[in-house]
């Protein structure tokens, strides 16, 4: 029997624009990237740990719960106000581990260097990585270097992988969120993304907006030892808070409600977003606790404890 629905499908042309080649948006952290993961990577590598789709995989190794993650860094320019590709490569990866409730321990570093890169630049970046690692209490224990022909790389790309240990008996991930959970973010959104964008495009504002990239594992550990029941966390990188919330809601099959007026965005970042036509909720934050999204058992006292005790920035409430 033909229903109205069948008729509709028959009369409707096959959608165009299904991509046969990789587009920039496939790496943008949004819908296309999600499609890529769902149609290429998940079917290819299908396994229970991967299918959790968290920032880091949590694995059982002889009774110890290890968290394992990897991330590649291709940011341009290599140096930007408030940071550089090296510090970012540390913060991003340790924060991915922290998002699984793990204490970050060891990192690897893979360098893809472009022929002609200034040695001085490489040295400054390595130095910055070491300082960031020290701050985050992790060590680089293995690495790799490749050089590609001039024109085949943007100065340098860095990949870091990290291992951490999940010490407390916590299950953290999108599938753990529950109806009634609250969301805590520990600071204002969008500074990192706008800082990079402004430098890249040569945009000048009254004040320089600096990236607030930083490690946040200690904050997470504090929250966990406080006994706050965290169900899910996200480092709000590409795609910002809105994309992370969408992805978590999608994975968990639940609806997440955000109150725009309760989300802190600094005045200069809001201004830059107005000028550039961006929504601050979609702007990237990288490796920065201020941009962490936590959902946990939403009793009023737990909310208060999480948003004041364990998260220093929240003492400066509006």
């Amino acid at each position: 029997m033909q229903t109205d629905n069948d008729e509709f499908i028959l009369s409707c042309p096959a959608p165009r624009g299904r991509h046969t080649q990789i587009q920039m948006a496939h790496g943008g952290g949004g819908t296309l990237m999600r499609q890529l993961i769902e149609t290429v990577f998940l079917p290819a590598f299908d396994n229970p740990a991967l299918n959790q789709r968290h920032d880091a995989a949590v694995l059982d190794a002889g009774g110890t719960r290890l968290a394992f993650t990897t991330d590649s860094y291709v940011v341009q320019p290599l140096f930007f106000p408030g940071g550089d590709i090296g510090s970012l490569a540390v913060h991003g990866t340790v924060n991915d581990l922290a998002m699984a409730g793990a204490r970050p321990l060891y990192l690897s570093a893979g360098f893809i260097l472009e022929e002609g890169l200034e040695m001085d630049v490489l040295q400054r970046i390595a130095q910055s990585m070491q300082e960031a690692a020290k701050r985050a209490n992790v060590q680089f224990v293995t690495g790799d270097t490749k050089v590609v022909n001039r024109g085949k790389g943007d100065g340098m790309f860095i990949n870091t992988a990290g291992i951490g240990v999940v010490e407390l008996g916590v299950e953290i991930g999108p599938l753990q969120i529950q109806v009634g959970d609250a969301i805590v973010i520990n600071g204002d959104l969008g500074r990192h993304g706008i800082a990079i964008m402004a430098t890249r495009e040569g945009l000048e504002f009254e004040t320089t907006i600096e990236s607030d990239s930083a490690p946040i594992a200690d904050l997470v550990m504090d929250m966990l030892t406080e006994g706050i029941e965290i169900h899910c966390m996200r480092d709000l990188t590409r795609g910002g808070l809105a994309s992370a919330a969408n992805e978590i809601a999608d994975t968990a099959g639940k609806c997440i409600h955000l109150e725009e007026s309760a989300i802190p965005v600094r005045e200069d970042v809001r201004g830059a977003c107005e000028i550039l036509g961006f929504d601050p909720l979609y702007v990237a934050n990288e490796g920065r606790g201020s941009a962490l999204c936590v959902s946990f058992a939403g009793t009023p006292s737990a909310v208060r404890r999480a948003s004041s005790a364990a998260w220093p920035l929240n003492r400066r409430r509006r």
Binding site: C12, P13, P15, G17, A182, V184, C255, R270, S307
Partner: protein
């Protein structure tokens, strides 16, 4: 934030909403011309603050949306050439042509670059003398002055490798086309504040008289729009049909005279095809013959190309205010930002994009709340 927050404040918005409610005694249909206004309306839920008897319909004021298919096809042909650097504003890149879009072309190896100003394209032309730099000059009267400036700058510098693919359109002829259509249901207009900042509003006064329709030059923030609707409804209720200026902080009657002179120097009024609507007489701007060296269609021999528009996209009806994006059977299914059937789904000012972004699904019930 100054100049933003005061125009988005909730308390005066409620006062305007109440004042409009007090005024209305019968149904009215009002069209906002500009896609920027459409986005504000849908994003801030302004239509929901109005009495049910007031219908806001969305106008053709999205330059990307009304750019005809053949021009996108021409852009794709030019951008595919190895000797060309093709420059465009970002939201043109995802608009589908007959075969693919500029972003796919970029992925396939075309040198397609996003710029923030046509003057960036002039800089590229100066810095790459061995390449031909083409800027996709799309827009209403708002962007015409800066595009004219870019062409004039290239002429003054004697650049021979810079040209523009010109698809400029004009607002008043489009309003007249809508008003003279048999299907028209628009009783009042919110005219586009940015366009009038450049052009002033003398062109609109005869339209208001001839078609007995109130036209209120309106800004883009929520309170601007509510104020514009208020003024428009007041005229309709009182049986007046005049030109009023809500957006006084930006718009004067004469407009920006220097910008208008620049437009007239470089461009002339031409017939122009509008996507989904068809050709409208004297509704576009083309380069004057003395600037032919900067006309990409001439330089690449594409003047005579003509493309049949496919029928599956109903954007023509949307752009004339005859169909709401959410009423289109393809909306959100066959047509979405990742695989659009037409430009209104991917343009930053497109009505379909606004509905997709803000009206696709409503939260059933709050599951989580945000605490900072």
């Amino acid at each position: 934030m100054k100049f933003v927050d005061e125009y988005r404040a909730a308390a005066p918005a409620r006062r305007f909403s109440e004042a409009i409610r007090q005024l209305v005694t019968r149904p009215h249909t009002i069209m906002e011309i500009c896609g920027g206004q459409t986005h504000s309306i849908v994003k801030f839920g302004i239509d929901e603050l109005l009495p049910k008897t007031i219908t806001l319909v969305h106008g053709p004021g999205c330059p990307v949306c009304v750019t005809p298919l053949e021009l996108i096809d021409k852009a794709l042909l030019i951008a595919a050439r190895p000797d060309v650097i093709f420059c465009s504003f970002g939201d043109m890149l995802r608009v589908p042509g007959s075969h693919g879009d500029l972003l796919s072309l970029k992925a396939a190896g075309g040198d397609v670059r996003t710029v923030y100003s046509p003057l960036d394209a002039v800089n590229l032309a100066r810095g790459n003398p061995d390449r031909r730099v083409v800027f996709f000059a799309v827009g209403f009267e708002t962007t015409a002055p800066v595009n004219a400036l870019a062409v004039e700058q290239a002429r003054l510098e004697g650049l021979t490798n810079f040209s523009i693919l010109c698809s400029h359109v004009l607002v008043p002829p489009a309003m007249e086309a809508i008003l003279s259509s048999k299907q028209n249901r628009v009783q009042g207009f919110l005219a586009a504040g940015h366009v009038c900042t450049v052009m002033g509003y003398t062109e609109y006064e005869p339209l208001a008289r001839k078609y007995r329709v109130p036209i209120v030059v309106t800004g883009f923030e929520p309170l601007d729009i509510l104020h514009g609707v208020y003024l428009c409804v007041k005229q309709l209720e009182e049986g007046r049909a005049e030109l009023e200026n809500q957006y006084r902080r930006s718009v004067s009657r004469a407009g920006n005279v220097a910008a208008q002179e620049l437009i007239r120097k470089v461009f002339m009024v031409t017939p122009r095809k509008w996507r989904g609507i068809g050709e409208i007489a004297r509704s576009g701007l083309g380069l004057r013959p003395e600037y032919a060296a900067f006309d990409a269609e001439l330089q690449f021999g594409l003047k005579s190309m003509d493309t049949e528009e496919p029928s599956e996209c109903m954007s023509g009806l949307v752009l004339q205010g005859l169909l709401k994006p959410s009423e289109c059977p393809a909306f959100g299914a066959a047509c979405a930002p990742e695989h659009p059937l037409g430009a209104p789904m991917v343009s930053s000012e497109g009505a379909c994009a606004a509905y997709y972004r803000y009206r696709r699904a409503r939260p059933v019930s709050p599951v989580t709340e945000l605490v900072t």
